[in-house]
């Protein structure tokens, strides 16, 4: 319990620090926030007036407190470029991102763990070799490159799947697989090594000496022990999914949070970029927090003392 509380406090601190970092980083990156808001023919005076109106000439820290103050009253503001309500943008695109993210998460663990178990149980077999080769490839190939290859093969050559779009199951397949690939590869490796490590533990012999079947010994006991390191890194895997979503959504034209964020940053649409970043950071922190709590659940050694 103490541990969970400590992690919660830690999470809040990181959230505050990263909100400051995001706020400053986007302002330090140069570019002109009003360029998208005024016609290209606008004079320097007109631009300056807009800047003044948006408060962009105030010192950074004043802008920061001003912005955070409005956030806490629930005023998310509007996009600088098309005046869209940020609240609406979030719900629309958030739903799409959630679909993609959950699909990738399911692939990472729902496919990664069984493959890792299979590799560990058929150690040094053709299965093991095949799965581990796949896993090395999954870790080595950068996802933007994998995305291009996948589009080329499955969309252009074979014509099985659409190359981009939203939001049916067919359009989901390629981005979800590409997004999940690295996490899946890492989960396979981790599952395999954790299974093998626990298969050699003394307690396995004890359970067998108690007459338990192999399916109980391996499927229940060895697996539950192997789950400890897997769950401890689940937060990292989710963070990876969130981070890679920016790239994958852009490549596949999947209208999620990542795509909006990338466009907002390119156009210096401060309110959108800031809030979307904060949302993604919160998702990552929450998932890490959840993984921490989950780790305490699967590892009873942490619960007391």
């Amino acid at each position: 319990m103490k541990r969970v509380l400590a992690r919660t406090v830690y999470m809040v601190i990181v959230l505050v620090l990263s909100s400051i970092a995001v706020f400053y980083a986007i302002r330090l990156s140069g570019g002109d926030a009003v360029a998208a808001r005024v016609p290209a023919s606008a004079s320097a005076e007109e631009r300056e007036a807009v800047r003044e109106q948006l408060g962009l000439n105030d010192p950074f820290h004043e802008q920061y407190f001003d912005y955070m103050g409005r956030l806490f009253t629930g005023d998310l503001g509007n996009s600088l470029t098309n005046n869209a309500e940020i609240g609406k943008l979030i719900t629309e695109h958030g739903k799409n991102s959630l679909i993609l993210g959950v699909a990738a998460f399911v692939l990472v663990f729902g496919v990664g763990i069984p493959l890792g178990m299979l590799a560990s149980l058929r150690r040094n077999s053709w299965w093991d070799g095949g799965i581990m080769t796949f896993s090395v490839a999954g870790m080595a190939v950068p996802n933007f490159w994998l995305a291009l290859l996948a589009v080329w093969l499955f969309a252009s050559v074979l014509g099985w799947l659409p190359s981009a779009g939203c939001c049916g199951p067919k359009q989901l397949v390629l981005p979800a697989v590409v997004l999940a690939m690295e996490g899946m590869a890492l989960t396979v490796r981790m599952t395999r090594s954790a299974m093998l490590e626990n298969l050699n533990q003394d307690f396995v012999r004890t359970l067998r000496s108690g007459g338990l079947s192999e399916s109980k010994v391996i499927g229940r006991h060895v697996f539950r022990n192997a789950l400890v390191p897997i769950v401890s890194l689940a937060g990292l895997r989710i963070g990876q999914i969130v981070g890679y979503a920016l790239v994958v959504e852009t490549i596949f034209g999947w209208p999620g949070l990542g795509q909006v964020l990338v466009n907002a940053v390119l156009r210096r649409d401060y309110p959108v970029a800031q809030f979307f970043s904060l949302v993604l950071i919160t998702v990552v922190l929450l998932s890490n927090w959840l993984a921490d709590v989950g780790y305490t659940v699967v590892n009873p050694r942490l619960r007391r003392g």
């Binding site: 000496s209 108690g210 050694r301």
Partner: protein, 343 residues
């Protein structure tokens, strides 16, 4: 010391067993193989375990005691270790030829085993109650509640304080002695005929060792169960054994009722072991170790395995392997040139 004559088993006189053996190992050869070479770690071992007896298997580490026990349970880490030859008879069946399923039904129910290190031997992420319940339900068709009740009884029986709440404990919440009691409770919950205890006290504090040993002997007597106790500690042997089998380099070199073995050991290795024991006497003297080292199992001498360390070795001992034989006094040992024991 439990007496055997009134319970059957091997009478102290030492000629013929009164009852039939419960478990009978015949010519067991267990080998370790790797890509480079393979060699036997148990070399043609034969041993009988009689009902209700405490049989101690004694020997230095690496002599094949644990491998023998794991061969009986069919729990050898295979690869690289597997039984190459031999029979292990139990109730008219050869354990080595049973199906995996049949063998599982024998484990814990008929033959149980407890291990050396009770910390690493218990699953860290399950409560001890859950595991005992699982063991019960692998063999008996009982409800979870009934199994839990039986598990609580078993923990109470082995002297674990507050047994019902201990069912919900994880191994890391228990002390070493408590863990070993949990192991014993788990091994005995189904009332087996034979308990194999592989150095059950080695990893424990000295004070706890005595308690655990006491618990084991009490259980053995109350349940009329046979116990194969594996140890390298002769003090333990003297305290609990009915009969002793001494193992050296993968084979049995002598076996005898415990008092005969301590009073009049015949094999030079047994004599060496006893001579090496520190004695409490008026004059302090140096310990008397057995000279030399155990031969490497990869390169066994052609003759007697003990010849290189034996003070009385004859030419014959270097070339010819002595058999485990019964001499006119009814003593069983493996030696061409036995000498009287001068402690």
């Amino acid at each position: 010391m439990a007496t055997m004559t009134d319970q059957g088993g091997w009478p102290s006189g030492g000629d013929q067993p009164v009852s039939a053996p419960l478990l009978s190992i015949e010519g067991l050869r267990t080998m370790v193989s790797s890509r480079r070479d393979s060699f036997d770690v148990v070399r043609g071992l034969s041993l009988d375990i009689y009902p209700n007896e405490v049989l101690c298997l004694v020997g230095e580490s690496g002599c094949g005691k644990s491998i023998t026990a794991l061969s009986i349970m069919r729990l050898l880490p295979n690869p690289p270790v597997r039984v190459r030859e031999g029979k292990i008879r139990f109730r008219g069946e050869d354990l080595l030829r049973l199906s995996g399923k049949r063998m599982r039904s024998i484990r814990a129910d008929s033959i149980s085993m407890i291990f050396q290190d009770p910390l690493t031997s218990l699953d860290p992420v399950f409560t001890v109650g859950d595991v005992i319940v699982e063991v019960i339900r692998a063999h008996r068709d009982v409800s979870k509640d009934e199994a839990r009740r039986l598990a609580g009884d078993a923990l109470a029986k082995v002297g674990l304080p507050d047994p019902i709440s201990r069912l919900g404990s994880y191994p890391h919440q228990l002390s070493g002695g408590m863990r070993q009691r949990v192991m014993i409770a788990m091994a005995l919950v189904l009332d087996p005929d034979i308990l194999i205890a592989d150095e059950p006290t080695t990893a424990l504090d000295v004070t706890v060792q005595a308690q655990i040993l006491d618990q084991l002997v009490t259980e053995q007597r109350e349940r009329n169960m046979a116990m194969l106790l594996i140890t390298h500690d002769l003090a333990v042997v003297a305290a609990v054994a009915d009969r002793v089998a001494v193992m050296y380099a993968g084979e049995i070199v002598e076996q005898a009722p415990v008092d005969e073995l301590f009073e009049d050991p015949r094999h030079p290795y047994t004599q060496g072991l006893l001579r090496a024991l520190p004695k409490v006497s008026a004059t302090r003297r140096r310990l008397d170790p057995i000279p030399g080292l155990v031969p490497s199992l990869q390169m066994m001498p052609p003759g007697c395995a003990f010849a290189p360390r034996c003070p009385h070795a004859l030419d014959r001992c270097w070339n010819e392997q002595p058999e485990l034989a019964t001499d006119p006094d009814g003593r069983v040992f493996r030696c061409f040139n036995p000498q009287p024991f001068a402690g």
